[in-house]
Symmetry: C2
């Protein structure tokens, strides 16, 4: 069964419905076509997972341009969902040629958030015979609502990540470097079936756990350290994203206090999040609790973000997001408290939102785990 | 010793010289300032390795904006090389405030190849009081010429990758999945000290080796397969990028013939590449040889690319590059032959170019290795 990009669920190919939804959006925006340059959006619509592509969607056509490195792969993955053109030099040269063959195409949307200025300049210069209109989130809005096949892929990615974490925890001990821990974790991720790493694994110990995006360095783990692991798996293109924070040895009272606040903030947000709530309101559930406990300044980042074909996608749970959460969203919930020089705690789960309420996909325990 | 971003060699901080070179370029282009949005360029100039930053360089100032997640990390990494501003909401909001404090700044360059259309629209709207000019390759041109410290980091990244490959090869055997092989390789990369993976490791076996960017999948290795490994390491931010292709069991005559052609193309290009040669001419050394042996159509990608803080950077070795190669460049040389349904061979080395000639940094044998 063909599952690249999660486009097939059982025997149902979901790509035609996605193309149809984009065509509806184009009609509403009075556009004749959409130029898709986001690779994640290309994958969502066509199944193609390569690193170089442009896609043109019109009321009648769906044309995918890529280069010769992907000649074999693209046919396997797309399998009829789009007309494939292999360009020998530059995709943009191919684009002008393809557009030239299309009749009744004048007003073309492009993805403002996925089009570099240098490419925008091409549109205005070489593509001067068409009228180019910036669009935002045409495909992303569809992607924010996962179908059953996509949810299954994310659940599998969560399971892979949790399996890897379960196998890694018993190996955590003083004397290992953060990088060595990352290697153990990533080896287990691969063994459990992860196709790739959705982002550079974070292993941050001791004071480095106060750096929310510390990656892994050459610091050696010591007894008494907070050890923060933030990582994910990828299956069929879909990501998971999990964080757990451990204490190496017995937790101090201060470590336990901070940990308990973060755990409670996570539990409150995971329990309270609902379809129709704004990203801002969801964020506030955790933020207000942490602030009420006196650590508001120490939680500097947003509560969470959507996951799917990308590890950061719509919707966002942050102080500035006023749009309501849609049924079918999958988001991270990841409050944290960070104290420079001392350390930090973050607990991150992946949560599926349906009209029936939130379902936490991550089953790994959230209790404070003191590693012996 | 502070080595993040390779900005310090022994006791010499190379960042002031980089800022000075950018200021020279700004003066020549009649610009008052440069807005740097490429994260690799930000790292090159300031040492900051975070994932969210804007940098403004004027004749007098060097101002780095990032968010609170990086509050601790940025001070450690930048260590006085720039004035750091932590923005609590949006870097662009902070940008307008910072620019407002600068006198004699009117004409500002922005990075056309690293500025999204949506951000370009911000420049024109919220930044309307300044005059914005697209620039290309201001920082990249500097980065194409590696200093001794940067070369040392790349050599270390090559050594880490080769150590990992040496430890992985004895474990290659029929029955393993490509993903499992990737896990073994990546574990060894971590053990040998790689900070991260510069790109998703490619493990492509049997017919999948004909897919030049196949990543790793669930195919099981079989006797008689070509097995292609394309991967790299990262140390102090600098990347290596290596490919070797093996045969599982005894090579067929056809496998041996193709392998020998690719090996010879690699050797010819590595031996012939010189400072001052165009990227096109370097590409042609390998391409003409492969074409002369009858496989020109089967080598669809470029000969190589620069490596450094990014795994694909200037200079490019391809059919369309007419600019000459600079002394101090580090490039990949990676010819390949790909036959859909049958398989492919690629052999990739990292090569340092000085006025004294090319020096191949990769020492791993290029002879056909039949895995028993």
């Amino acid at each position: 069964m063909f599952v690249s990009g999660g486009v097939v669920t059982g025997s149902i190919d979901t790509r035609p419905a996605r193309v149809a939804a984009i065509r509806d959006a184009l009609a509403r925006a009075d556009l004749d076509a959409l130029l898709v340059s986001s690779l994640a959006n290309v994958r969502y619509v066509t199944g193609f997972s390569g690193s170089n592509a442009l896609l043109v969607i019109t009321a009648k056509d769906c044309i995918l341009l890529t280069d010769s490195r992907y000649a074999t792969q693209v046919e396997e993955e797309v399998d009829g969902a789009a007309t494939v053109r292999i360009e020998s030099t530059n995709l943009w040269t191919g684009l002008w040629a393809q557009l030239g063959t299309l009749t009744s195409v004048e007003r073309i949307g492009f993805e403002s958030m996925h089009c570099l200025h240098c490419d925008f300049a091409r549109l205005l210069e070489k593509g001067a015979r068409w009228s180019w209109r910036p669009t935002t989130d045409v495909v992303e809005t569809l992607r924010a609502v996962k179908d059953a096949g996509e949810l299954a892929h994310i659940e599998r990615a969560v399971a892979v990540a949790e399996t890897a974490l379960r196998r890694t925890v018993p190996m955590l001990r003083a004397g290992l470097t953060e990088t060595a821990v990352a290697g153990v974790l990533e080896g287990h991720l691969r063994d459990a079936g992860s196709e790739a790493f959705p982002f550079p694994s974070i292993v941050a110990s001791g004071p480095r756990s106060a750096l929310p995006h510390a990656r892994a360095g050459d610091r050696v783990l010591k007894t008494g350290d907070l050890v923060l692991l933030d990582f994910g798996a990828v299956t069929a293109g879909y990501c998971s994203d999990i964080t757990r924070t451990f204490v190496l040895g017995r937790a101090s009272d201060e470590q336990r206090e901070i940990y308990d606040i973060v755990r409670e903030a996570n539990a409150r947000a995971s329990g309270a999040i609902r379809v129709g709530m704004t990203g801002m309101a969801a964020d506030a559930v955790a933020r207000d609790y942490i602030a009420g406990r006196g650590f508001g300044e120490a939680f500097g980042h947003s509560l969470g973000h959507g996951i799917g074909l990308e590890v950061h996608e719509a919707p966002r749970l942050s102080r500035v997001v006023e749009s309501p959460l849609a049924a079918g969203s999958v988001v991270t919930i990841e409050p944290g408290i960070y104290r420079p020089g001392w350390g930090g705690v973050r607990i991150e789960d992946d949560v599926f939102l349906s009209d029936a309420g939130p379902r936490v996909l991550t089953g790994f325990p959230r209790d404070l785990h003191e590693l012996s």
